[in-house]
Symmetry: C2
Subunit: 625 residues, 2 copies
Amino acid sequence: MPRLTRKLRPLALADVTISGGFWQPWLEINRVSSIPHIYTMLKRTGRIDSLRLQWKPGDPNPPHIFWESDTAKWIEAASCSRATHPDPDLDRLIDETIALLTGAQQPDGYLNVHYTVVEPGKRWTNLRDCHEMYCAGHLIEAGVAHFRATGKRTLLEIVSRYADYIDSVFGPGKRPGYCGHEEIELALVKLYHATGEERYLRLAQYFINERGRKPYLYDTEAAARGDTRPDWADPEYRQSHLPVREQRDAVGHAVRAMYLYSGMADVAAETGDATLLAACRRLWESATGRKMYVTGGIGARHHGEAFGLDYELPNESAYAETCAAIGLMLFAHRMLQMEADGRYADVLERALFNGVLAGMSRDGAKYFYVNPLASGGGHHRQEFFDCACCPPNIARLLASLGLNLYSASDDALYVHLYAAGQAKARIAGQSVTLQVDTQYPWSGQVRMRIGLDAPGTFGLAVRIPGWCRKHKVTINGKPAAAKPVRGYATLRRPWQDGDEVVLTLDMPVERVAASPMVADNVGRVAIQRGPIVYCVEQCDHKAPVRSIFLADKAPLAARFDKRLLGGCVVVEGWGAAEDLGKWKGRLYQSPREAGKMRRVKIRAVPYFLWDNRKPGAMAVWLPRA
Amino acid sequence: MPRLTRKLRPLALADVTISGGFWQPWLEINRVSSIPHIYTMLKRTGRIDSLRLQWKPGDPNPPHIFWESDTAKWIEAASCSRATHPDPDLDRLIDETIALLTGAQQPDGYLNVHYTVVEPGKRWTNLRDCHEMYCAGHLIEAGVAHFRATGKRTLLEIVSRYADYIDSVFGPGKRPGYCGHEEIELALVKLYHATGEERYLRLAQYFINERGRKPYLYDTEAAARGDTRPDWADPEYRQSHLPVREQRDAVGHAVRAMYLYSGMADVAAETGDATLLAACRRLWESATGRKMYVTGGIGARHHGEAFGLDYELPNESAYAETCAAIGLMLFAHRMLQMEADGRYADVLERALFNGVLAGMSRDGAKYFYVNPLASGGGHHRQEFFDCACCPPNIARLLASLGLNLYSASDDALYVHLYAAGQAKARIAGQSVTLQVDTQYPWSGQVRMRIGLDAPGTFGLAVRIPGWCRKHKVTINGKPAAAKPVRGYATLRRPWQDGDEVVLTLDMPVERVAASPMVADNVGRVAIQRGPIVYCVEQCDHKAPVRSIFLADKAPLAARFDKRLLGGCVVVEGWGAAEDLGKWKGRLYQSPREAGKMRRVKIRAVPYFLWDNRKPGAMAVWLPRA
């Protein structure tokens, strides 16, 4: 098939090292705490042992339709982690789990425990609700990640057999179908890349093209099951209300939407399908231009875990599932490779540092599924969930974070996110290493040293984030012109080994306003510094969080507090709090009768670190005094 | 049983006339348009004809478990209406419907079409979900209202037989039970009043005392049905999570809560049960002090049609079901009779003029089920609903509005709501008529002329509403002292026939703020004049409603516009609107980059009249500029 030229190719995970700086401690938490914790939970809840196929009718805890997806994401996380930190014990656990998957795979290649032992004979009868291909997608992703991380083909072969079997069942001239929970589409493109087998790409393309066509698959399917009840959800819930190229608004279940759009972007890139790319661009605008929280959270509604209407972004009742923010990163990553435009990286970064990272506790063993932007004090991270998609999703995201930092174009090395460590790439036929030294995002200074076997001319495209109003670049200590074009300043010159580039991004504390169309934030501001969105927590304030205002002109100062939550930049200043005594027993009264405002000290902490201390209220958007 | 002295007794409907002023046109709309419209819809949807018991398995449109409640509320509305406006055609329809109910009643007294023809043999097997006693309650209320309005005992006898049957099934030493949807409790107290049969009061008391006791009825009941699924709703949804005397927070389905609390107040008043009264007071404080919209709407959440947490009062996603505001009036009415405290009347009035009256269109043929306090433009009244509780509920409320205007104490006539018309009462052994002339709530002036056969001394207790900061009273043109105590200024003196009292309530346009604990209204004000809450509608403004601000000091003027929506007071002044051009393609940016504010003319209309003109956005709470 013809390829639409992707402008950029991400560097392979093995070519990216993260050491020191902001990220290494987080990756350590992920490796040392989170990945083992998740395995323990998978084991304790029966997910691992369900693969032994020993469940019998009458037994408790029947294997659930989506259990494999949790296990698969853990394998992906663990594989990526052991790639940078060899760990024989972890290898053993991974291999054991893969051995169980081998045993659970059916002779024809099918692999879903629920439909093997709980409802045998019913496989593929309810694509609408039953997640079989969603699980297959995560198994495929795990198989590819495991192969890339270890070179072993054990899981890749299992998932290739499964994909071959699925390909033998569904497609033109075979059975029509597509999964109610998208995921397999992007996974099949990964499998195509890993194996070179074009049929996997064609199957992904088929699933995407088939979606939303008339006659409506899930009606036909329900009739075949003899299920006469109306569909419990709107077709928009599964993005199957229209053929994908006709979809203009990001609607329905936000995670599903992101996985679909990511698969669409992949297929568009591989097949040169301009109408599919146009749909991706429209859906990107809808999701990020009118339906995204300042944290990069998406999916405003609890009901259906779904996108709301344009500008429907309530704070306290926000859903903003962790997995949806991860999904937004996946979509952004793909659009960024295609278009090399910094606005995609801006959103990717916003989601990563706020909506995604908030999903995990500082100790790596508790998780938010839902990420509101305000809380009365009752919202807290949990050890695990019955529907446990988020914990292993953060784990695999962090373990494979390196994939998001750099890309190569034909003649330039792109630096999207600044993280201390090293990258190796081949640019314009030349081996290039880039040593990065930075405390970003706590500091806006990034020192980059170029390593070359021989001098050479190529571009170093450094991202100038959308939040940054002023930046400067020096090369070997001398100021260099660095005008950004579409978010990147490309330094193109004959480079010598040891050349040092220093990028300084001005990173003052900023107030952010939301469009007046966002009714919930009218008259409010959020605090942001660099890519980090801040919040105020009750434990730092005597006045109730809800009574705290921020005057437009009150100075706000950033300070690195090395003892706080592993070290972070806090933002401090003076706000105002309304005396609530005048409201005792009153719900409504004249503003003239309201309490007096008094000055109070405000301390804002990064949103992603909230709920790691004494439980209490929290707010991102503060009313302007 | 010992009676807790009710301080007040409402005047009988027949003793209250409403003529002219604000209310007569609304009662006319109800009589001429709404009541016939609802009958047409009951007929068209099969509700009326279902009473013929001709439905057979396989037929379409099976009679629904709660259909009788809709029909019953229509009979109640029609009966009250024909009491003041004799109408032989309407009498014929009522009698026909009652004849159908006679035919539908089973030999043992049972009366529910669904469980007679659709699921025979399953009556009382699912009190949790299936509304049988809820329907019985509405039938009983209809029977009492019909009897009081017409003197005919036809329906009263049907419902007494049904109540006797229910009394034979449930109670101490019989089957345990109470309905998942409260309503029968307050209805049985009405039946007790109408018939003098104390067993009905005892049955109401039993249902209230039984509620929430352990072992939990609905668990036992589900087990008896062989239903092993977990309860689909939380016990709080039905206020059955705790014995009622232990309930401290208004929780769950708001309509159910209000009907329960009303029944509790009734039983407390009849039985002198101080612990029950104390529970009513606590639940009143919870519902109105921390969970009520400025419109008197209650039940913030769509999910479960339920109360939210304290101060959880979102505007655009408000549920605020019309029936819940009506239920709040019912509860307020009962607390007012017991305690003679104007704060109950304040809430009753707030709900009536805002949350309830908004529920019906100006033409009386369209209804809001849900009453948000802000709309992007997509929320509109509908002709009817599958779950059609609200339309006949407003109809019966308006047709019996007179019950809410006056009460008698042993030695005073209380005037709670000012409405043009006449009241007849016996006070301290004396026949008193009160002729009221007023355009209230458009004007704060109320002229009251006392009619007496002979001079006499008694009190005229006129309510000084909580919203009123300044009032004066003249008697026969001379200023009189009128200091309010608990919301009422009692004018006690030897009265002569023809004495004239003029009450003038100062009624400026006011801004109202919400407690800072209501996160959704921080930095916002609502406009109120007298009891009327205002809103801005898109059709009166060029600038998008969401971009309109109101400066704290901007003067606002009230003006009666006789051509607008049947004549109403509009509030006009200057606000500010943000230029949205700067937000094109942007969701978040610095407040420094936001659009400039420009002066715009604001016109606010009564909230209850919104969505009667060109459809569009609406907002009650405006951000302060």
